[in-house]
Symmetry: D2
């Protein structure tokens, strides 16, 4: 059987560093995140480590949109996703009450891991506040505040790398799972 791993052609991104909104790739999935007091620090801006929480939330929402619920696959497939490595650029700060749009794009699917690009932009104020996660508005967002290249790997309960089951690979390589298929 030809699996997703076979059909994917990795995009070469030594390190993801777009400097303007127009240089951002097409997203596969996006979600809105409001900045609350808990996310900020005494510098008056979002504490840097919290963007990793934001990015993980959006990866989770994206997995849900593909029918992949992490508690379920941990119980049924004995499989858990972990972040293996991450290169992250903090370009501009976000502040209390800001609405962020966080995007995810799959750039490589392997047997036991995924490589993703993620970025956070300022959303256009409250207009989108009530929008459901995953719905793209098509409106141009601001330039990226934070960009990241993330490698996510599948591990078993003993922490060893495991191959993704075929049904998961198939979903990651569908147009909803990966924008590569549309190129």
């Amino acid at each position: 059987m030809r699996t997703a791993a076979a059909v994917q052609k990795p995009i070469s991104v030594a390190r993801f560093r777009p400097t303007a909104a127009h240089a951002l790739p097409a997203a596969v999935f996006q979600s809105s995140i409001r900045v609350y007091y808990e996310d900020t620090d005494a510098g008056g801006i979002v504490y840097h480590a919290n963007y990793l929480r934001f990015f993980e939330r959006v990866r989770t929402d994206w997995l849900r949109s593909l029918g992949v619920h992490q508690r379920e696959i941990a119980a049924r497939e004995h499989l858990q996703f972990v972040v293996r490595d991450m290169a992250i650029d903090f370009r501009s700060p976000a502040r209390l009450d800001d609405l962020l749009r966080v995007d995810v794009r799959v750039i490589d699917v392997r047997r036991a891991s995924l490589r993703l690009l993620q970025w956070a932009c300022l959303d256009d104020g409250d207009a989108r506040a009530g929008t459901s996660p995953g719905e793209a508005t098509g409106k141009p967002p601001g330039p990226p505040l934070v960009t990241a290249e993330v490698k996510v790997a599948a591990i078993n309960p003993r922490g060893r790398p495991v191959a993704l089951p075929d049904w998961l690979l198939a979903r990651f390589s569908s147009p909803q799972g990966s924008a590569n298929g549309q190129a």
Copy 2:
């Protein structure tokens, strides 16, 4: 001028401890919160301190629904809300991927502080996943997992208690601001 502080009659709640869903008061505002990995701990459940983050998010969403944006009022009114005290009961655990419904009800409005009840219940699965914050479904939720009575006070930049401006008191004592008005 008769202010909200004058018309509000405080409900007597020595300590808020409803044991079943039917004993919960009518909410003024509610919002859905998804449980992500960041919210859980090695016990497999939501880390107790994180319910305070959830409750603060919903208070913020409720304030926004009344037109009160905290960064704005900090800049314009030189006023910040802080939690003064809190009595919180952790009844049952929430887990990864759970969707929580968190409610808020105003029980007392004073010149420089508010007293609120807040509670978190398990929401009815993914049906509500895309619902906008603040929209009540009317469906009965599960029994409360966590309940809290919270005193929120207004302070100035030097940390001193300050009287809430009349326009804010008026909003807190409106039916949307406080369910007291409906009783």
Copy 3:
């Protein structure tokens, strides 16, 4: 066998509210905690929910000082401690770089739960920065910034309350475990 549960006489604390340092009870254990950027929020002060993290760190250090390591007892005794309820007063803010002294005192030991008082004071600057956890300096700290009464319960892997093993009860009712024995 006479267990700790039998000999302990609970101190009556409707709700723990000392207003000055001299009204604080004798601590059983204390530890120092530095305030980092991660702990603060855009209000320039420690985010309220983070005191629950501080209090849990000091409970953990206190348990360690009694030879109780939580990962070990989870594996060997199938027992985990969870916070059941908490009444917390936020009196004065702490700020970036502050050194806090957090104290814990046992006020009641039951078969399946403990009741504790905990409070955080400003420590006397950097003098104590290198002091080991658990070492009391004897120096008078500032007035309490935050005080809490906390009920901690033991549960099994299915989340049901379980009796504490006798060796644990014995440690909690020793002078190091509980200041009650010294009164």
Copy 4:
């Protein structure tokens, strides 16, 4: 005046990826960090974003050891340090109750930024539990669990990059500030 910026010769580290303890560079500063429940997630391991908190704590302790207190320099020099970019490898997980040793080494000092290597290893159990921050034991730690290359920049209150004052540059280029000077 010849400043630190002039004398520093940057080490070439395309991306910091040592795979064993012996490949780690000499640290300039190290500190111990205990893993508490707050740091873990439902996977039973330290949540990935929390290593950024750990690394920031140790950078803060290192700055303190050089006499640089961040609240002070924010007030006096109108200068704040922010993380500009970070490349981080999550090699092996840490767990509840683990004691980590986190090291920092300066690899480049510029007029308005620093480049650092940081890594976390498992410490040798409780032997070091009471050791003061900054004291190196000389004992070989385990292999690195997490490694990072971090660029920290100085900004002014409007978020613009600013040159570090000479006294700060001098401290960063001293043997305690930077191991480069010893090579």
